[in-house]
Subunit: 207 residues, 2 copies
Amino acid sequence: MDVSPLTLNRISVYLRCLRRLHEDGVSRISSQQLANKFHLSATQIRKDLTQLGGSGIRGVGYEVQPLIRRLTGALGLDQKHSLAVVGMGAMGSAFTRHIGFNHGSFQVAAGFDHDAAKIGQKVGDIVVKPTSAIGVVIPQLDIKIGIIAVPREAAQDLADRLVAAGTRSILNFAPVRLENSNGVHIRNVDVRIYLEELVFYLGADER
Amino acid sequence: MDVSPLTLNRISVYLRCLRRLHEDGVSRISSQQLANKFHLSATQIRKDLTQLGGSGIRGVGYEVQPLIRRLTGALGLDQKHSLAVVGMGAMGSAFTRHIGFNHGSFQVAAGFDHDAAKIGQKVGDIVVKPTSAIGVVIPQLDIKIGIIAVPREAAQDLADRLVAAGTRSILNFAPVRLENSNGVHIRNVDVRIYLEELVFYLGADER
DNA sequence: CCATGTGAACAAATTCACAGCA
DNA sequence: TGCTGTGAATTTGTTCACATGG
């Protein structure tokens, strides 16, 4: 299948909205109602949903629970996914706790750090391991998703080691564009870039 | 001026690259060299830079230091910006420490939490204040940028209170699309959405 | 001559408008 | 009738190709 990241991210949003509706006991909803309720675009919801094979009822709308199941399956969220966090500083441990607390399709299965003072310590449920263990632990636990939360200088090297060990996707918090060797999917999240964006629009009036 | 978020985020990236070059003693660079060195597109660099009023020298390239100054000014990074972090849980305090450590154009000037156990505690340089103090502290410190790092349910209310107190831009880590009342600029950062994206592309082969 | 800056071609994403079906 | 699903139109973003000028 061929879905753009933009569409995909919106699907995630829809899924969340639908789960909330389901909790509230709503069993059917039209694209228009969904759009109104969560400030989305009705046409776009329909376009996006039909990309995964539409399943609405003309004249009625969508059945909430079947649609949730459909999207959950399409995204691959019907299985548990193990994550490895590399870098157990402020970002890495916040991420670990964040995901750990939100029992969902994800669990942090391993945490690595370079710093001897952090190795052996517990963060949430996991014990921090040395980065030298990446090559052993990643294949052992069959981890396909890695989180890079280390300083800029170390990011590329650790990403390479994750990929060499079998990681197929990387969520990168370090402020570098990582070189994506062969089919590895990389998502960069750079908080400072977002702050800079906000600053620009702050001053946009004066320009 | 009228610059898209996409362009703007790339400008931030260029700025970083240029700062690294400057540190390495490079005083001139062509768009092509810049593109090669950091895996970017030369044409796009030029298009983006000319949006802020091009300043390259034909046949030569760009002067690194003047360009840094130019971009820094265009983004509004030549002044210090105070931030308020709302929600001092794992995410909020990680963010605070992250920005705090990286002395740049940003400083966390205030941190708020709802939880009595956290109020009065120090996170980095700042002392956590109750959310009830938002209305007083934000105008007092003239804070224009707020960070929302609270659970979903509380996010909209706190965003509203920030805006009412004078905040003009919000970086939102909570998993909700915040309603952006009048010209307030909102940037959503939702880690779980990015993880879900990665999962989808993991399984993309089998589909 | 060589790299910038830019109009024109192209591609991607969004929105519109409506045909088609429960 | 009322909503989905979708081709067509539009807008937005990227790449190409080259004229321009230091």
